[in-house]
Symmetry: none
Subunit: 301 residues, 2 copies
DNA sequence: GCATTCCTGTACACTCCATATACAATCTCT
DNA sequence: AGAGATTGTATATGGAGTGTACAGGAATGC
């Protein structure tokens, strides 16, 4: 079992040692072991716990309330031991896959809900939903029902995520963010997830989905003057048409244009050349980078 | 359960903390919980209530009136004067359209929610949502932001309907019904609404959405042996490819194939010729006909 | 051995929130 | 039009929440 001194934990979490001590004193949140001489030794689990606090705080919780919430989760039997966790994820994935194989919505529903009652959404998305989606996506041409499986699952997920979307509180103020798929892109899930994160961070998300010609973004952007325009492309390829469309788009809108997904991963150079910011493949990383960039522009002004 | 401190509520609603406190003092409208130290903690329901106040105020009510009104609504179960109703539908439609024009999700949300708190979904769908959708759809080429408007609204609606979809209990038993768009069709809303009705009638809905090649339906149908396969087409045109695809599909699956939407309205003859049942343009009428037909087949067996 | 890291405890700064009262602008009603 | 109610906001004062700084001392590690 690994232990970390307070300074290392500070590095790992970005929380200063002083603050960590204050938290322990005031909220007793992580009460780490001590050496015989009194130095704190944090376990990995405690670091995870701190990370969880951070994500809660990102989504608007104050520390005290975040601590309360974590306490409640522990109470509710929700928190996890490290080793149990590792063992469970494949099981969840397996059950999801089976449900999809049988096109069984009921089974799908319970396989989806169970991990969510135990773990926070972010974790479930990363450990269960995305891997399954990826696997199903990768098998789509090897099986005769591949495409149907993929449609079935992604429509299901889309509804589920849409529900969360509605639940995410709408803000009247706060910067707007336009989200849309690149033309020809039909995989919306990453984009929706990114939207979810952005909404949780206080952005007014303006979700336009797929099949919107890029030229049509201009009127929307001039009317709403968003803080950014985020486009997603995973199956689309870089070609002359796309290049021209983007090159036309950038100067016509008053906001920076970001592109995420495989396209951003594979063609960062050409994207930059037309004035677009590539932000990587992963939706979470992508949206983080966008938020950071927007924040920088803000302060730069 | 989630709670928000007063500052956050101010952000969420656009009402200043001072005013919020004044309202509580003067009208006792939201009387939020308090922490041990006396800080207010607003529940989500209270935030909703505040939003309702805002929408009332937007339509001319003063606060005191708005509060009275909300009190009255709570009193007798949110009922309305019957005669006001007729007059209200255009107003709701108008407000929805305005919200879409401004790409204002918050306004959209209140314009969407308000009629739903007063009238049953079916009515709201028929009187408000579909007319607005139709109007936006019909204007898509006359305005430069037409397509964007349409995307914005239909993605919003899709999430909302998706939520209801999830809510509709999934049944393990009961006949299955496969729903999908015809190839090239990207308008899913009618199909989703049809799915909603079918689910409410006890069908196990297997929703596959758009962009599924018809040939890929065969493996799904043989695995699940649904009571019917319902396809939707509103913008697609009848052509040789579609004719061939359908002609191939019908004998390959163990279930009757139905087609709804404009395509069914405009080409009932050719559809019948390839063994498909056209069920009309309107989603509600369509799903009724499908259910009726399935029932007849059942009893015929 | 000496720089670094960590310990405890107290204090401070800055923000957010609470109550209470006052005030000015607007509405309402006679 | 003018009295009175309505309503958003301003001010004053104090407490709560939270990050950080500082002092004096001990442990750690090369």
């Amino acid at each position: 079992m690994e232990y970390f001194p307070i300074g290392r934990v500070a590095e790992l979490t970005g929380i200063s040692p002083v603050t960590l001590r204050a938290w322990e004193r005031r909220y007793g949140l992580p009460v780490p072991h001590r050496t015989a001489s009194g130095h704190r030794l944090f376990s990995m689990a405690e670091v995870e716990q701190l990370r969880r606090v951070l994500t809660l705080m990102e989504s608007g919780y104050s520390i005290s309330r975040a601590v309360e919430r974590i306490r409640a989760e522990e109470e509710h039997g929700g928190r996890f031991d490290e080793d149990e966790q590792e063992y469970k994820w494949p099981t969840y994935r397996q059950r999801l896959l089976e449900a999809v194989d049988n096109f069984d919505t009921t089974a799908l529903d319970s396989a989806y809900n169970e991990p969510l009652t135990l773990f926070p959404v972010d974790l479930v998305i990363d450990e269960v939903l995305l891997p399954v989606l990826e696997q199903i996506g990768s098998e789509w041409e090897q099986r005769d029902d591949g495409i149907a499986r993929e449609h079935f699952f992604s429509n299901y997920l889309r509804n589920k995520i849409g529900t969360r979307f509605n639940h995410e509180v709408q803000r009247r103020h706060g910067p707007a963010l336009i989200l849309a798929c690149l033309p020809g892109e039909s995989h919306e899930l990453g984009l929706m997830l990114a939207g979810l994160v952005a909404a949780a961070r206080g952005y007014r998300v303006l979700y336009l989905g797929s099949n919107l010609p890029l030229s049509k973004l201009q009127p929307v952007a001039t009317r709403t003057t968003p803080a950014g325009i985020a486009l997603s492309g995973t199956t689309v390829e870089w070609d002359a048409k796309l290049e021209k469309d983007l090159r036309d788009l950038v100067p016509s809108v008053p906001s920076p244009v970001y592109v995420g997904g495989d396209l951003a991963e594979n063609y960062p150079g050409p994207l930059r050349a037309v004035g677009v910011f590539p932000v990587g493949r992963d939706f979470r990383e992508g949206i983080e980078r966008i938020i950071k960039d927007i924040r920088q522009r803000r302060t730069a002004e």
